[in-house]
């Protein structure tokens, strides 16, 4: 059983929902990322999605675009991101880490080399935004052989046939993108999400985590109620941008943001 599967199973056993924060590695500075990851865990994170910065983040809105720019200004490479995970693992052996990014940096490293390095660093899952399962037939086995979870996206536009096919290629969880748009656009419609997630649950046994548009305790609870977990991204990254000058204040601000979400999610527990 992968670390991701273990965490999600145990949460389910307790009737709890997963809190999955996203930050971009290297933002605001590569030296801070590992510290921020520990801060997220202390504030209640169950799984961390760590963004690999890319020069052309086509699926992201301005908030995460700027995070990529800040990280790249300091030269944050995929190699460095892997080193950050390795360093995180020195103190935290339990919290799963999912790398989320675009295909080109992984291809540039070489897929097999990347898969090996990811395992070595202690990465648990890979989510490649611009890699649909149709194009993943060479990469997917490299991940499966190494017990790395391949996490794919489902969208409001995904047809039933594709939901089934994508789920078959996925392990760990599937990531449901709550609305049509880029990250940070924030126009989530909870009723619509509830209906679609319920439908996805009929088509796959995998846990369904929902991301895009979750920005506070209220949206976290509303979406948590109908899914297995929530992914929180742009609002955290925006907090990083606003507090980049003062690392201590930044950590406090991230905690202050996540804590109420954790509490709201746990208050759902039956």
């Amino acid at each position: 059983m992968s670390r991701i599967e273990g965490v999600l199973k145990s949460l389910k056993g307790q009737g709890r929902k997963a809190l999955i924060p996203y930050i971009t590695a290297g933002d605001p500075h590569p030296d801070l990322t590992v510290d921020l990851m520990h801060t997220l865990v202390d504030a209640g994170a169950d799984i961390i999605e760590l963004g690999v910065p890319f020069s052309d983040p086509m699926a992201d809105g301005p908030v995460i675009q700027h995070a990529c720019e800040r990280a790249l200004k300091h030269g944050t490479s995929l190699r460095q991101v892997l080193a950050m995970v390795k360093s995180f693992r020195e103190k935290d052996d339990a919290t799963p880490v999912v790398l989320m990014g675009y295909l080109n940096p992984m291809e540039a490293m070489g897929q097999e080399k990347f898969a090996d390095a990811a395992v070595d660093a202690g990465v648990d899952g890979i989510l490649t935004v611009d890699l649909p399962p149709e194009e993943a037939d060479e990469v997917a086995p490299l991940f499966t052989e190494r017990n790395l979870d391949a996490i794919f996206l489902l969208a409001p536009t995904t047809t039933d046939d594709r939901i089934r096919a994508i789920s078959e290629h996925s392990s760990g969880y599937v990531y449901y993108v709550s609305f049509k748009g880029v990250t940070g656009a924030g126009k989530i419609d909870v009723d619509e999400v509830a209906a679609k997630v319920a439908h996805i649950h009929e088509l796959t046994a995998l846990p369904v985590a929902v991301g895009f548009g979750i920005r506070d305790a209220a949206t976290a609870a509303a979406v948590g109620r109908v899914s297995d977990g929530v992914i929180v991204g742009s609002v955290l990254v925006d907090t990083i941008a606003r507090n980049q000058a003062d690392p201590d204040q930044l950590k406090r601000a991230l905690s202050d943001l996540l804590h109420p979400m954790r509490e709201a999610l746990d208050s759902l527990a039956s």
């Binding site: 052309d56 699926a59 935004v129 649909p132 149709e134 996206l153 049509k180």
Partner: protein, 404 residues
């Protein structure tokens, strides 16, 4: 490799691959739209009504066929092969881009989409898109990098006159690549009502296929006109390559004619060895950007590299996947000329033939002159004059230190 009709028919394959290149590398939200577009295009491609309307528009709205002109004086001065010009600059709106926008706008109408978006670099594709949208009464949004808005301002004003909204793109390098990123972002957010008219043979499948099909009218006409006027096929075809749409349109109908040499000319910028260029086929390596696998300019960590070219329309770090395939199998040659050489080409054609090419096109002109000089007088070289240079007056004047 000798290409046959059979082999060409099989490409791209069902997943949109040209050999190792192409494909559909997009976020999930767009996937179903791409499948629908592919399905509908396959159906309409063989629909006589659709084809007849496309042909009618090309004839009466664009003004096709465009002439194949013998550049007699340029030929004499060059002292080698005969130089012929395929005059896409004479099309309505002044470039080859309109062949494609007519086709895609028709698709948009058949699909019932009321809102159109497009990216543009030089502004020619933006103008061509705004033009067809005005004609069909479609809402039109053009994404253009801030840097390109500055250097191609006449085209920005043309788009606005045509009723398009021009969105200034301030992310990344503020050029064509970033305009395409923002167009994709808009598309994801408005996917139900929006048709994305991509301006070149790049992007996710089926775009490289349908743009190539719409642009192939250039090569089909050239083939017929050349046979008619010279009694034989051309010996060499020369076209500039940004994303590669005018080049593939010219090359495609000649791919199985082994005797016809194909030359795609990339932007060498300040020189390939300076790194300041936009020549992924000459100096890049395969990677994934904007929905397809193709040759790219990138750094050792897989970040897309900044590009430089004097011409906004060539200032792009990628290239259509079919060109990547043609390069690997050795069917086409990909070369580059520098900014300075292109400017010389611009001045030469202007002064010797009274034809002012776009700066993009000037790259093809510059290379073709070098090439023709090495060939015998009975050989025939055809340059695709992809567009006219009116839009570049400001850039040229700036270089000359003149205020206009």
């Amino acid at each position: 490799m000798k290409l046959t009709e059979e082999m060409l028919k099989a490409l791209p394959d069902a997943r949109g691959h040209f050999g190792a290149y192409g494909g559909r590398f997009v976020s999930e939200t767009l996937f179903d739209s791409l499948l629908t577009l592919e399905r509908e295009y396959k159906r309409l491609k063989d629909d006589p009504e659709f084809q007849a309307e496309f042909d009618r528009d090309l004839a009466h709205y664009v003004g096709r066929p465009s002439p194949l002109y013998f550049a007699e004086r340029l030929t004499r001065e060059t002292g080698g092969a005969q130089i012929w010009l395929k005059r896409e600059d004479l099309n309505h709106t002044g470039a080859h881009k309109v062949n494609n926008t007519i086709g895609q706008a028709l698709l948009a109408r058949f699909l019932g989409k009321k809102r159109v978006i497009a990216e543009t670099g030089a502004g020619q594709h933006g103008v061509a898109t705004a033009t067809v949208c005005a004609r069909l009464g479609l809402e039109c949004h053009i994404f253009m990098g801030e840097e390109d808005i500055r250097r191609q301002s006449p085209n920005v004003y043309r788009m606005k006159l045509l009723g398009a909204e021009v969105h200034s793109v301030t992310s990344g390098t503020r050029t064509l690549k970033d305009a395409m990123n923002d167009a994709m972002r808009d598309w994801v957010a408005n996917v139900d009502e929006t048709f994305y008219i991509i301006g070149t043979v790049a992007g996710p499948h089926p775009y490289p296929l349908l743009v190539r099909d719409f642009q192939s009218v250039i090569g089909r006409e050239t083939r017929e006109q050349c046979l008619d006027r010279t009694g034989k096929l051309p010996d060499a075809l020369v076209a500039c390559v940004g994303g590669g749409s005018n080049a593939i349109g010219m090359f495609y109908p000649f791919l199985t004619d082994e005797s016809v040499e194909l030359y795609g000319v990339e932007a060498g910028g300040l020189g390939i060895d300076t790194g300041q260029h936009a020549a992924p086929l000459c100096a890049g390596r395969p990677g994934v950007l904007h929905g397809n696998r193709t040759y790219l300019m990138e750094d050792e960590n897989g970040q897309i590299a900044g590009t430089h070219s004097v011409s906004a329309g060539l200032d792009y770090p990628g290239v259509g996947p079919e060109h990547s395939w043609l390069k690997d199998i050795g069917r086409a040659h990909y070369v580059s000329v520098t900014d300075d050489e292109a400017l010389d080409g611009f001045r030469k054609l202007t002064r010797v033939e009274g034809i002012m090419p776009a700066l993009e096109t000037a790259h093809a002109v510059a290379y073709a002159i070098k090439l023709a000089a090495t060939m015998d007088k009975d050989k025939v070289v055809v340059i695709n004059i992809s567009g006219r240079g009116d839009k570049d007056m400001q850039t040229i004047a700036e270089i000359d230190g003149i205020e206009v």
